[in-house]
Amino acid sequence: MERKYSSDERLPILMIVVGRQRVGKTSFLNTTAQFLRAHGAEFQIWDADKMNTTYNMSIFHQDARQPQSLDPEDIKEWLEEKFMELVAERYDAMLDIGGGDTPLARLVQDVPIVSTLENEGVRVVLVHVIGPELADLDYLERFAEDELLAPDATLIVMNSGLVLSGRSNEVAFADIVRQPAISAVVRKGARVVTMPRLNCMSQVTDRGLMFEDAMNGLAKPGGTALTLFNRVRVRQWWEGELPELFFEKIPSLWLPEMRLRQEASNVLAVGEPRRRGKGTRSSGEVSGALGQDTQSAP
């Protein structure tokens, strides 16, 4: 069936994150959502991971939409309603569906949701979050089989946070990158990115802190702030590793638009060269890395 839209056109995005339990799906989504919003992106968060009560998107994003019921059939119906709403109202959304036998897995067996949504001009971005265990590829194999859930915009996120301390990423993920399941999706245009490790991630999330608050030494009422060194760790990760090693590698059309970065890079492109204070990073420098990502979606 011929598509109604071009692959290099900005379209409403539905980002769906899948993977085994405990591979870091919520960490990926929480990080991505905070980073994008900090840079001017607007999107809805759909939190359908009702099993994860201690670390879910609703804790960090109070505007996250949740289904009323825990029943898988009710969640499936809620998802259908949200998908139709997205098609009608043309906004971007991120879906945290959790692991295990999810309502989404049931839905894709019912209806070809990727082609249905793509024909309505929505770009489905499927994110497979994986760790260094081969079993982490189960979802990739299962969804790619018969193209159950295999959009062109497929992102494989290798979570460095799951690599044992002292091991290199190259060795830890060596078996994973050699797997035919990876080659099969990469040759069709999937992108593989590595999510940089934040050594004190749990200290930030256990406190229920946003990353920017954590690195600025803020704390929740009655809680404690991060230690000085952990604040530096968060800042290096947030301002250096995430934009340079992670978001730069993701095609810009696969993410909700980061308007502040785009505006900052436009201003810098026409303005006078600016001097940078010692030890500080200009917003334009970071935005240049992101906003000028000209790689179009395949």
Partner: protein, 192 residues
């Protein structure tokens, strides 16, 4: 006598290099390592269109004796990579068999089996001996994956786009690992 020797050489040559393979195949096989190294320096792949002109000037042809085209040269190169992998596996299997034989030899650690010269018990010589013992007691080793392993983007049957996707993503990942792991892994202590 000398004509016998030449005749034997010709026969061995015919067996080792049967006419079922093209002259281009044998040339690429002989010069494989240098080509890979040169390609690695430029990082732009092998530009078969330009190379075919040079092949023709050298008199290298396809299996039908015709000048090689882009496609036949590229296919021949894949066959060469496969042949290299086959030869490497064959060598590794032979090495493993030899190592197994050595390991099974009950006399393997006897001084008569040591190779090299062992003089009076000076400190340096002693360490050399222990090394000799270690090397003769080699266990069976798995077949090594040498430089001839076929990369995913070198597999046959891929379209140009698929090949490009695989190559850029996987090489990019390796470069990223080299960059990030450099900061995470402690460097070995050179003084030890």
């Amino acid at each position: 006598m000398s004509s016998d020797r030449k005749g034997k050489e010709r026969i061995l040559q015919m067996v080792a290099r049967p006419k079922v393979r093209s002259s281009l195949f044998w040339w690429l096989l002989e010069n494989h390592d240098e080509l890979v190294e040169a390609e690695g320096e430029a990082g732009l792949g092998l530009r078969w269109g330009e190379l075919c002109v040079e092949f023709a000037e050298l008199g290298l042809s396809d299996v039908n004796g015709k000048a090689a085209t882009d496609q036949t040269a590229q296919k021949t190169w894949w066959r060469v990579r496969k042949e290299r992998a086959r030869l490497a596996a064959r060598r590794a299997a032979a090495d493993a068999e030899q190592a197994a034989k050595r390991a099974a030899n009950p006399r393997r650690n006897m001084p008569s089996q040591w190779r090299g010269t062992y003089g009076p018990a000076l400190a340096e010589e002693t360490s050399g001996r222990s090394h000799a013992v270690a090397s003769t007691s080699t266990e069976v080793v798995p077949a090594r994956q040498g430089g001839s392993t076929i990369e995913p983007w070198e597999e046959e049957g891929l379209t140009d786009e698929e090949r490009h996707n695989l190559k850029t993503q996987l090489l990019g990942l390796r470069a990223e690992f080299r960059r990030t792991d450099k900061h995470n892994i402690p460097k070995p202590n050179k003084r030890l």
